[in-house]
């Protein structure tokens, strides 16, 4: 019969994967920009957040960290981890206790930071990264892959390729991720690999690739 899962939970697991990956990738970009802001390029943070559609203002490297992670914009960590938490609550009965707990803890980490109004430092990034590693670790260590894991993985990879297209030129690596996405989509839809190849060949620019992926996801998860 295969995995039984509602469309709502499938969607939540997919978005859970996307948000956790988005947090991880954003933190990675923030670390890189932070290093540059210190003594290489004062505007590195501004340029980074422009790509998220956010206009960021700061005077120092530490202030950059604060406004990037906890400022009032849609890409702050409290918002992103809050979305991850909400999706985890909805899909809780398909998550193991540890991964669920780490997601709640990740959100609590940013909640506490926001509540205390203490100027944050690099440590919070380290703490968040540790929690994210634990979350991915929990998903990776499941012995038998089930569809619920594939939905999380799908979200993770879609977010990854989206970031890749946003910050890099298309190259072999992005093709590898796209191929992996299509393999998962095939597993979830029960289609043969030959159809995947056709789909990939149809893809042209990065925007075409993403559209093809989204279209395929819409045919797999039927609300």
């Amino acid at each position: 019969m295969g995995q039984i899962i509602t469309a709502n939970v499938a969607t939540s697991l997919y978005w859970l994967g996307r948000y956790i990956e988005r947090i991880e990738k954003t933190l990675y970009q923030v670390i890189k920009a932070y290093d540059k802001v210190i003594d290489v390029d004062k505007d590195a943070g501004v340029k980074l957040y422009e790509s998220f559609g956010v206009d960021l203002k700061y005077d120092s490297a530490l202030e950059f960290l604060n406004v990037a992670l906890t400022g009032e914009h849609s890409s702050n960590m409290l918002t992103l981890s809050g979305f991850a938490r909400e999706n985890a609550i909805i899909s809780r009965n398909h998550l193991n206790n540890s991964s669920f707990g780490e997601i709640i803890a990740l959100n609590a980490l940013f909640q506490n930071t926001t509540k205390t109004h203490v100027l944050i430092d690099y440590k919070i990034i380290d703490d968040a990264q540790s929690l994210i590693s634990e979350i991915w670790g929990e998903f990776a260590k499941r012995e038998h892959k089930q569809n619920n894991d594939y939905f999380v993985k799908l979200g993770k990879l879609v977010e990854e390729v989206d970031f890749y297209f946003r910050f890099h030129e298309e190259d072999e690596y992005s093709e590898t991720i796209v191929a992996e996405i299509h393999t998962i989509l095939d597993i979830l839809s029960g289609e043969s690999i030959s159809k995947t190849s056709q789909l990939q060949k149809q893809s042209g620019t990065s925007s075409d690739t993403m559209s093809a992926i989204y279209k395929k996801i819409d045919t797999i998860i039927i609300e």
């Binding site: 469309a7 609550i89 998860i221």
Partner: protein, 454 residues
């Protein structure tokens, strides 16, 4: 008043004294991490809040619990027979054990279901029976039967799990009954009554006060957690809508919503959380609903009065566990007693639950009591009166000190192929000293319950 300390308590305190009390903080962290919530709506706003808990467990000896267990099995057996009888021949009414008028006026009685018998003739699948231990007779008495949608079992499961992580010494050194098997009791009962298909837990949704429990139990039972629109009825059969659009037959539903809301085509047409047509599928015998529709009549506070008589009538046995002394103003003699002693009684509105509609005579003014008498006179079936039971306090570690608080005990009884009593339960305590209302919806907290032997 605290219960007399036993050898079991002494053993507990001995280990407790060697524990690092600072680790209680870790307890809170764990409970928060796993979002052990009981949500509330206040002034129209949804508030996600963690349920207050206490780390000092209630301790019940195995010997004492054995009696509770037998009494609860007997009671639930009789209640199931009562419901089955009431919705078929109604012999208990015909023979005058319970007045017909009394049954018909119970809001939970659904005459439309007369003549229908559910899968395996089981109606009381999951039961939450509320008890307290009376200080006068030093014995457990039953306060209430919850046979519709009793909640709360996930909280002791969560706190026990946390306890074992933070303070393993107790479980290494004491003989405490394990409790992990409770979700399998429900899963087995679901399998037993299943009419062909998968098992699902039907939740009103993410913003229900007990959503945490719904998702927790679904996960532990390996059942699907669904909202109403994820189910559909076709040809009097219930189906689960899979993510890919395929329909999968459902054979058993652990529903976490009341009768009124379960099917807008049959009950409340305004219900947005019910499944249209589910009652039709149920009446066709194509799906089992846990608990059965129409159980409300048996956990009506007025019908509670008759449970000891049901035990005698159906089982030919004397009740092992007593009811709290109860009076029905419906009967003239009882009404006279109530009016003469109202200032020392507890008056309960039979239609209310969750600690609402409970009035303590000793806290009311003469004018209020007179008004209450007039209301009782006008609507005698609406009320019951009970002697105020002085029940034991439990030690609680609140605000960094040990204090005594009133505490009740909800026992969970699951009926499938046989009747199983969980060797644990939900001990609820009042947050304020002297308060008798312990319900979670009244701000009460909870603690673990250890059934132990030496």
């Amino acid at each position: 008043m605290l219960e007399k300390e036993t050898e079991l308590h002494k053993k507990f305190w001995e280990i407790y004294s060697k524990q690092d009390i600072k680790k209680i903080k870790e307890f809170q962290t764990y409970m928060d991490k796993f979002a052990v919530n009981f949500n509330l709506y206040k002034d129209g706003n949804f508030i996600e809040r963690s349920l207050p808990f206490d780390v000092i467990p209630r301790i019940i000896s195995k010997q004492e619990f054995n009696k509770i267990e037998k009494g609860l099995q007997q009671r639930v057996h009789a209640l199931n027979l009562f419901l089955e009888d009431l919705y078929s021949d109604a012999k208990i009414v015909k023979e005058g054990i319970i007045p017909q008028e009394f049954v018909e006026q119970a809001s939970g009685y659904l005459k439309e279901f007369k003549g229908f018998s559910p899968s395996k003739k089981i109606r009381t699948h999951i039961n939450g029976i509320d008890l307290v231990k009376d200080t006068v007779n030093d014995e457990w008495v039953i306060l209430e039967d919850n046979l519709r949608v009793p909640s709360g079992s996930s909280y002791p499961l969560s706190i026990r799990d946390t306890y074992r992580k933070i303070y393993p010494d107790f479980f290494e050194q004491l003989k405490i009954e394990p409790i992990k098997e409770y979700p399998s009791f429900i899963a087995n009962a679901m399998d037993y009554v299943n009419c062909g298909g998968i098992n699902v837990v039907l939740t009103p949704g993410r913003f229900n006060s007990a959503y945490y429990e719904h998702s927790y139990l679904a996960e532990k039972m390996n059942a699907q957690l669904v909202r109403s629109h994820e189910l559909v009825v076709k040809d009097k059969k219930l189906y689960f809508k899979n993510y890919n659009g395929k329909l999968i037959r459902v054979g058993s539903v652990y529903r976490r919503l009341d009768d009124d809301f379960i099917d807008p085509t049959f009950f409340n047409p305004q219900s947005l959380i019910g499944v249209p047509g589910i009652v039709e599928a149920y009446l066709a015998g194509n799906v089992a609903l846990m608990n059965a529709i129409g159980n409300g009549v048996a956990d009506d506070k007025g019908i509670y009065y008759f449970v000891p008589k049901m035990i005698q009538y159906y089982l030919g046995e004397e009740p092992i566990l007593k009811n709290a002394p109860t009076y029905l103003p419906y009967f003239t003699k009882d009404k006279e007693y109530i009016f003469n002693n109202i200032e020392k009684l507890v008056i309960k509105d039979v239609a209310e639950a969750g600690g609402y509609g409970v009035l303590f005579g000793h806290t009311m003014t003469k004018i209020q009591l007179d008004d209450l008498k007039k209301i009782i006179e006008a609507e005698p079936r609406r009320f019951i009166a009970q002697e105020l039971i002085e029940f034991y306090d439990e030690q609680c570690y609140l605000n960094q000190e040990l204090v005594a608080r009133k505490a009740d005990f909800r026992a969970y009884v699951v009926m499938g192929e046989d009747i199983k009593v969980w060797q644990c339960g939900l001990t609820r305590y009042a947050l304020e000293e002297g308060n008798y209302l312990v319900n979670s919806s009244q701000g009460g907290g909870f603690k673990d319950t250890w059934v132990m032997e030496l």
